[in-house]
């Protein structure tokens, strides 16, 4: 092989290795990109993870939207978890409070986190929560049970096509990761 070819090969390989490393990084860059994209567009039913300030909207008494509540436990999370009501008819712009009940069934302290999801996903940005147990991890003493409120409003700007919104919570047992 001529020296010239060797040098050309070495240069090309260097460039291609940089491409490979760059693409490995790009794979990881997709993680924050995806989050940003979901937040900006409200895709995927991702809900804001912090409370919003309570502002007053003009209540639309002529419209009724059914809000359904779903509760679930991830895998074998040893808890009791339910909402006090299964669904409620709401007027857009009016504030409502719904209570959820969660109980630690073990004899140890448990740290758990509820992850919310809204469907249809595009309705998520119009569903505002001023108070929710899902904004932070919840610590339960052994056998402790507690009632926790969620206060929410549906923004009246929501498109007329939405008649039902489902709010689903899944409780995850994070004791192991939180203790560490």
């Amino acid at each position: 092989m001529k020296e010239g070819v060797k040098q050309k090969n070495a240069k090309l390989v260097r460039i291609l290795v940089f491409v490979v490393l760059g693409m490995f990084g790009f794979g990881y860059a997709l993680v924050p990109l995806y989050d940003v994209l979901c937040e900006v567009t409200g895709l995927n039913g991702k809900v804001e993870s912090a409370a919003v300030k309570e502002v007053s909207y003009e209540v639309d008494k002529n419209r009724e939207i059914t809000v359904e509540f779903m509760t679930a436990l991830n895998e074998a999370t040893p808890m009791v978890f339910r909402s006090e009501i299964k669904k409620i008819k709401v007027h857009p712009g009016e504030y409502y409070t719904v209570n959820f009940y969660a109980e630690n069934k073990t004899d140890k302290v448990m740290v758990a986190r509820a992850i919310p999801s809204i469907s249809p996903g595009a309705a998520a940005e119009y569903f505002k929560k001023t108070e929710c147990f899902c904004f932070s991890e919840q610590t339960f003493k052994a056998r402790e049970g507690r009632t926790m409120p969620v206060r929410f409003v549906v923004n009246p700007e929501i498109s007329k096509e939405y008649k039902t919104i489902t709010l689903a919570y899944t409780f995850f047992d994070n004791t192991e990761t939180s203790v560490k």
């Binding site: 070819v5 491409v19 490979v20 693409m23 794979g27 992850i115």
Partner: protein, 535 residues
């Protein structure tokens, strides 16, 4: 395979090392090509045996032979072995053998890296195979390795992930080597737009490989840290999202399926003109179509995830972008047809397999278009319809073309002619049985049979039985190919083949200007005349 040293370049051609160690330490492109091809053939039978287990279990409703966990391991391992162990290495083997000869170079640009990428492949596949014997069994989540399901894999999970890393590094090294060879090792006068289509398709495929394999490596690394180091990339409890994995996976996964089909196109574009005795119709449009398909493959990934709950705008975008791929692909299909049009065609085994590829791949493409229609996909998603679709694009397309390539180049590689009668028998058995095997799966899918299940409702019984019978015939027929390969290496029909092998082949591509078998180092002095009949 014996390497004959040609008389005219004896002064720096030292030939292969003696003994078995030759195959371990070799840096020769032909030796490594042979290793890749034989390894791929072996894995084709390993993956095929797994498919036989699947079809045997699905022969009748109810549980017959294996438990559901093992069944799901079989579908997962069948896919991983066939994709990463059989089809991809087979094409890398062809690239190793053919690219240096086609562009008039003595060897690959980076011979030692070439050796390393082959042995990393072997290590990766062995590591993957070892998971079958681990506590909790091999991965059973499907080849897509979706979390959270894949995180329930037993002891095998980290081994499967490291195996993916090794296979990825092997592919990346192979890709870098191919790009360097094509860019820097071409004979004088071999301009980019004079390269044979096979070289072009591999150049583009190699770029796909180095762009996507690192992304997949990243995705499985995230799975690994999610499982063992409490990260939460895909774990909803920590604020992650399992759907994110699907996006990253298919960003890799969609170009990955083109990694398996683009070289297929290249081989088809090589074989059809030789047996039609005409230049390839629309050479430059073939080049641009290949590049267009490769580009589009990066922007359509979410058509694999229409049912995850995307907003309507996303569904529409991915639907139309996906349909766009039919245009460059259609260009190719029409070009192959036009190449055959009014050609003086003869129907030797490689041509038969290539024609079957054009017809059956078109069918696989059309079912792909059906599923690109987002609202219709909600019905087809994760049913046997998708199984039928991608098997049509992989088995009677990629695998048939690999068979065609085998028949086409075996005489060149070995210097012996294969037995044409057995070749034709192999073709007809394969082409009939592959349709008995996969065509009924369209009906099963449209009727609602889900994929990846070991047992099913009784209304699916008849077509499953027919599909299984086709599967057994197809599987058994491939033993004929094994016989032909061994027989041809050992001397074949005894007929002495010329350097050209096929009539006027030397007008199409440089490898036919060399004797059969070619010298250990292909072109120690660059060729002076560049064939242009392929374009």
């Amino acid at each position: 395979m014996s390497a004959v040293v040609a008389e005219h370049d004896d002064h720096h051609d030292h030939g292969p090392a003696k003994g078995l160690l030759r195959w371990v330490i070799t840096t020769n492109h032909k030796d490594i090509g042979t290793l890749y091809l034989l390894f791929a053939l072996a894995m084709f039978f390993v993956g095929g045996s797994m498919a036989m287990v699947i079809r045997a279990e699905l022969f009748e409703p109810g549980m017959q032979f294996v438990n559901p966990q093992f069944f799901n391991s079989m579908t997962t391992m069948h896919a991983l072995v066939m994709v990463f162990g059989a089809v991809m290495p087979a094409f890398v083997g062809l690239a190793n053998w053919m690219i240096p000869m086609m562009i008039g170079s003595p060897d690959m640009a980076l011979p030692r890296m070439n050796n390393m990428s082959f042995w990393l492949l072997v290590a990766g596949v062995l590591l993957l195979a070892s998971t079958l014997f681990m506590e909790g069994g091999a991965p059973a989540s499907g080849w897509t390795l979706y979390p959270p399901l894949v995180l329930q894999t037993g002891k095998a999970l980290p081994f499967a992930i490291f195996s993916v890393h090794l296979l990825g590094i092997s592919s990346i090294l192979g890709g870098i080597n191919i790009i360097a060879t094509i860019f820097n090792m071409r004979a004088p006068g071999m301009t980019l737009m004079k390269m044979p289509m096979f070289v072009w398709t591999w150049l583009i495929t190699a770029f796909l490989l180095i762009a996507i394999m690192p992304v997949f490596a990243g995705a499985v690394t995230m799975l690994l840290t999610d499982k063992f180091f409490h990260t939460s990339f895909f774990d909803a409890a920590g604020g992650g999202d399992p759907v994110l994995y699907q996006h990253i996976f298919w960003f890799f996964g969609h170009p990955e399926v083109y990694v398996m089909i683009l070289p297929t196109f290249g081989v088809a574009s090589t074989i059809i003109p030789v047996f039609a005795r005409k230049p390839l119709f629309g050479y430059s449009s073939m080049v641009y179509a290949t590049a267009a398909i490769a580009f589009l493959s990066f922007i359509v990934w979410a058509h694999h995830m229409f049912t995850v709950g995307m907003p309507i705008a996303g569904e529409l975008y991915f639907m139309y972008a996906t349909m766009l791929i039919a245009i460059p692909t259609g260009v190719k299909i029409f070009n192959w047809t036009a190449t055959m049009w009014k050609g003086s065609m003869t129907f030797e085994t490689p041509m038969l397999f290539s024609i079957a590829f054009v017809v059956l791949f078109t069918m696989g493409g059309f079912t792909g278009l059906m599923m690109a229609v987002a609202p219709a996909d909600f019905q087809y998603h994760d049913t046997y319809f998708i199984v039928a679709h991608f098997h049509y694009t992989l088995v009677p397309a990629s695998v048939f073309i690999l068979m065609a390539a085998g028949y086409f180049w075996l005489p060149k590689w070995t210097g012996h002619m294969y037995d044409e009668r057995i070749g034709q028998l192999h073709f007809w058995l394969s082409v009939v049985s592959v349709n008995i095997l996969f065509f009924p799966q369209h009906f099963l899918g449209l009727a609602g049979m889900p994929r990846r299940i070991p047992d099913y409702a009784v209304q699916f019984a008849d077509w499953n039985m027919i599909s299984s019978i086709g599967g057994f015939i197809f599987g058994a027929s491939q033993l004929l190919f094994l016989y032909i390969v061994i027989n041809t290496i050992k001397g074949g029909t005894g007929e002495k083949v010329t350097g050209e092998v096929w009539e006027d082949a030397a007008k199409h591509s440089l490898e036919w200007t060399l004797p059969s078998p070619p010298p250990y180092h292909s072109f120690t002095t660059p060729p002076t005349v560049i064939p242009t009949e392929h374009m």
